[in-house]
């Protein structure tokens, strides 16, 4: 079966834009990604001002 284009209206090869999405609320991947990113940035800030403060 042919792979269905993710964003049919977009002419995706040039990233024009998305189709009409009707998803309400953040999808699971976005929540997990956001939490992970927040943890990474938080760890960096903690390390920056504690362990590597003098560097």
């Amino acid at each position: 079966m042919a792979d269905r284009r993710r964003y049919p209206d977009t002419h995706d090869d040039i990233a024009v834009g998305p189709d009409r999405e009707s998803i309400t609320g953040a999808p699971r991947w976005a929540k997990i990604f956001g939490i992970t990113l927040a943890i990474v940035v938080g760890l960096f800030v903690i390390l920056r001002f504690t362990v590597f403060a003098g560097m």
């Binding site: 024009v16 998305p18 998803i23 953040a26 999808p27 990113l37």
Partner: protein
């Protein structure tokens, strides 16, 4: 507000964005190799040379590519219906890019100090160990990981609209005429 760019301009901006992003990724990979060499090498001359080259790559390849990638990415998203804050993947890419550039600028400033030490003709053992900073690998490895994640997001474009994006979509739907009149004039 979204202004759709003409197709030619859009392709030009997209091409510039891909070139700068891929260039950034490649330069970061090359940088990581040099960073490993700095830490692994026992030869002072090799360490000095590598640090000097790393500084040049950082200032004249990585930073310009990174800034070009950020700028063209912003233009690209604002110039298409993707928008900058409408889709989670675009927002996350922007955050990753901004975070990476912040770390990059901070790190490169300290790298310039190390390059100043490396430029000396003779080095003490303390100075040599200063050049062998594990931060080289942490920064280049971390940066490379962020860029790989951003690339995956750009290619897969996972679904998911932000609240702002959903509101904008509703507004656009409301503005659009719903039906063509049955007795439209010819």
């Amino acid at each position: 507000m979204t202004m759709t760019m003409p197709p030619r301009l859009r392709r030009l901006v997209l091409t510039t964005h891909v070139i700068s992003s891929v260039g950034w990724l490649g330069a970061a990979a090359a940088y990581l190799v040099l960073a490993v060499d700095v830490l692994a090498s026992r030869d002072a001359q090799t360490v000095r040379a590598a640090v000097l080259v790393m500084e040049l790559i950082a200032w004249f390849v990585i930073i310009p590519m990174a800034l070009a990638s950020l700028l063209t990415g912003i233009v690209q998203s604002l110039g298409t219906t993707w928008g900058l804050f409408r889709h989670y993947w675009v927002v996350y890419k922007l955050l990753l890019n901004a975070f990476a550039i912040f770390l990059l600028l901070e790190y490169t400033t300290s790298l310039s100090q190390l390059a100043g030490i490396a430029a000396k003709t003779t080095l003490s053992n303390a100075e040599l160990s200063q050049l062998k900073d594990p931060g080289h690998i942490v920064h280049s490895g971390g940066g490379l990981l962020l860029l790989l994640v951003a690339t995956v997001l750009a290619v897969y474009k996972p679904r998911g609209m932000t609240r702002y994006g959903q509101r904008k979509q509703h507004e656009q739907r409301a503005k659009r005429p719903t039906q063509r009149p049955a007795t439209a004039p010819r």
